[in-house]
């Protein structure tokens, strides 16, 4: 099996309205029959971020196709969570669309689930304890 890499594609605000429209655009661009493996779809102030899991080959293909300078493609950051610094305030929890940062029952301690994390990085500058960093 080929190794998959995660990339984030940022469309400027207004370029894409919703997820289905994005899928259509991407399928048009890449001319593939099957929708691309979409990991996550985020709305930020930059616009819309789409996290994709692709082979390195496809990433290169994508870079050649998306020539609009406003559409950015970058590799994902690697998030690190320092349990010792975390005070379980929860400032990060409502920012995490995929439930990788969550209150764990029954204690309501904040827990970071590395497997669920799509490395979008939205939480990094939200942590008042500096417990979440980018590698």
């Amino acid at each position: 099996m080929k190794e998959m890499v995660r990339v984030v594609v940022t469309f400027p605000r207004g370029a894409v309205k919703d997820e289905s429209e994005y899928t259509r655009i991407f399928n048009d661009i890449l001319n593939v029959e099957r929708p691309l493996p979409l990991i996550q779809f985020l709305t930020t102030d930059l616009g819309i971020e789409i996290v994709l899991e692709l082979t390195e080959e496809k990433v290169q293909h994508l870079k050649q196709l998306l020539t609009d300078p406003l559409i950015r493609i970058k590799s994902r950051v690697q998030i690190q969570w320092d349990r010792d610094q975390c005070v379980s305030c929860g400032a990060c929890v409502s920012l995490c669309n995929v439930g990788a940062l969550l209150f764990q029952k029954p204690d309501d301690n904040v827990f970071y689930d590395e497997n669920k994390c799509v490395q979008c990085g939205l939480c990094v500058d939200a942590c008042p304890r500096g417990a979440i960093t980018k590698k």
């Binding site: 709305t43 400032a91 309501d108 008042p128 304890r129």
Partner: protein
């Protein structure tokens, strides 16, 4: 039969006191009723763990030889307040480091002290006959200080507002990071575990109440600043010995683009003196209601978008104007619970006894907004008529308008006068450089705007944040009313 403080303390001494946390109390009352709970339960422990920007610490260093009457003091590069005696200072948690602002601040100095770390002390002075020294450099730990007193003039907020952001930009606030278009919501407070929610009439909490503070024992020393019992926003002024505290319950905070603060763990025991208190301490999250405010409005009085309960907040999702919004706390519920459990353990182990307040808190005061004697200046007073164009015009026509009217910004409007874009002198230069001939190609469509009733300071911040020098002024229907430029603000505003 009502109980007395003496009777409860006697039972604590015998090891027979029945203590429950506020969360356990709800269950006990539900199962046994208030009458039995009042009879059985001696103490209900509460807890909260939130960022307390009002905090700071009074430190006494002792005298150096030769002695110095420090005029300015820095602790790990954070300027401490030195308007007090020669060897004292006050370190405020929101004061930021001169070298690493927004990352390190007074709260971090306090945490470093609590963690037993050495803190660099730098002081200077003008020198006096009795205090000849003018410069001092040393490293001190908490153990080296004579006294270190944590003061938190406003803690234990009965409840707090929920924050959302309806603008199209991410905001960084003291309520954390708020995503645009109400992408998330944040709140503070432990709901049914909150001390004042369990004693809303201040029957047992007052001046002299012994409390859990930052991992050590402390005291309530009066009503907190902005104490506003009439509006359900009571607060407490608390103090404690920093030397008893631990980093588990006193932790520095740094909020991106806002600044530094400190998380303070507070726990208050509530003696169940009568049935009324048994009933009050059984309060549920569903009964504590708070307002969802739009922090996108940069004014003191922010619009209320919804009312929600702490049960809604703790569920992780609230509904505001028909939309589901993920919500999480800025204060730690798990720490609040740990504090209530810790305090319960102290009492059960006979390490903590209750005190009756020597004075109860006011139930009448109401916090007032600031009286500002200088007049607020609004955009309406400084805006001027805009020279406009439509998309039907040519680039040359627009260039002529700019030259003729000595303007740098030309808002683009549609047939009915609604704003659809803006053209600046820079855009025209760009058009010339790139050989663009069509006005539509150079118009900026996403325009940062203001309204006539925005304060000048808000308009100025919009220009600064976006590195632009003018804002079209529009009404609620996007109709163009005029233009305000950075020149207008500089010459006549602030």
């Amino acid at each position: 039969m009502p109980k007395t403080y003496q009777e409860i303390n006697d039972r604590i001494k015998q090891g027979s006191a029945f203590v429950l946390t506020a969360e356990e109390m709800k269950k006990y009352v539900e199962e046994n009723g208030t009458a039995k709970a009042a009879k059985d339960v001696d103490v209900v422990t509460t807890g909260t763990f939130g960022a307390m920007c009002s905090s700071g610490a009074f430190l006494n260093f002792g005298h150096s030889d030769p002695p110095i009457k420090a005029e300015h003091v820095w602790l790990n590069g954070v300027h401490a307040y030195h308007g007090n005696a020669a060897a004292d200072c006050y370190i405020g948690v929101t004061r930021m480091s001169d070298y690493a602002p927004f990352v390190y601040g007074g709260g971090h100095v306090i945490e470093d002290f609590v963690r037993g770390k050495e803190v660099e002390v730098h002081a200077n002075s003008y020198g006096t006959d009795c205090y000849p020294r003018t410069e001092l450099e040393t490293y001190l730990t908490l153990a080296d200080l004579n006294q270190a007193i944590l003061c938190n003039p406003r803690n234990g907020y009965q409840r707090y507002n929920v924050a959302v952001n309806t603008t199209d930009k991410t905001l960084y606030t003291y309520m954390g990071k708020l995503l645009p278009h109400s992408g998330n919501a944040t709140y503070s407070g432990a709901g049914c575990l909150n001390p004042l929610s369990n004693d809303p009439d201040y029957e047992t909490i007052g001046l002299g109440t012994r409390i859990f503070l930052g991992g050590g024992t402390g005291y309530v020393i009066g009503e907190g600043t902005q104490h506003s019992p009439k509006t359900g926003f009571g607060t407490l002024f608390v103090k404690g010995d920093l030397k008893q505290m631990t980093a588990e319950f006193l932790a520095a905070a740094a909020f991106t683009k806002y600044g530094t603060s400190i998380y303070v763990g507070l726990g208050i025991p509530i003696p169940i003196l009568n049935e009324g208190l048994a009933k009050k301490t059984a309060i549920k999250d569903t009964e504590i209601i708070t307002n969802v405010l739009d922090y996108g409005v940069p004014r003191r009085d922010r619009p209320t978008l919804a009312k929600v309960s702490y049960a809604d907040l703790k569920s992780g999702v609230i509904i505001v104007e028909g939309k589901e919004i993920p919500v999480s706390s800025m204060s730690s519920l798990s720490k609040a619970r740990k504090i209530a459990l810790k305090l319960k353990e102290w009492i059960e182990k006979k390490n903590f006894f209750l005190t009756a307040p020597v004075e109860t808190l006011s139930r009448e005061t109401e916090s007032h907004p600031m009286k500002v004697t200088s007049e607020i200046k609004f955009v309406s007073g400084f805006m001027s008529a805009a020279v406009t164009c439509t998309l039907k015009e040519t680039i040359t026509e627009v260039a002529n308008k700019i030259v003729k009217n000595d303007q740098d910004h030309v808002p683009v409007v549609d047939d009915v006068g609604k704003l659809i874009g803006i053209v600046t002198t820079f855009d025209l230069t760009w058009a010339l450089a790139k050989g663009k001939l069509n006005l539509a190609d150079i118009v900026t469509r996403k325009v940062i705007t203001t309204t006539p009733d925005d304060p000048i300071s808000v308009a100025a911040r919009k220009m600064k944040e976006n590195s632009i020098s003018a804002l079209p002024v529009i009404d609620s229907k996007n109709k163009l009313l005029g233009l305000i430029t950075s020149g207008d603000v500089l010459q006549r505003g602030e």
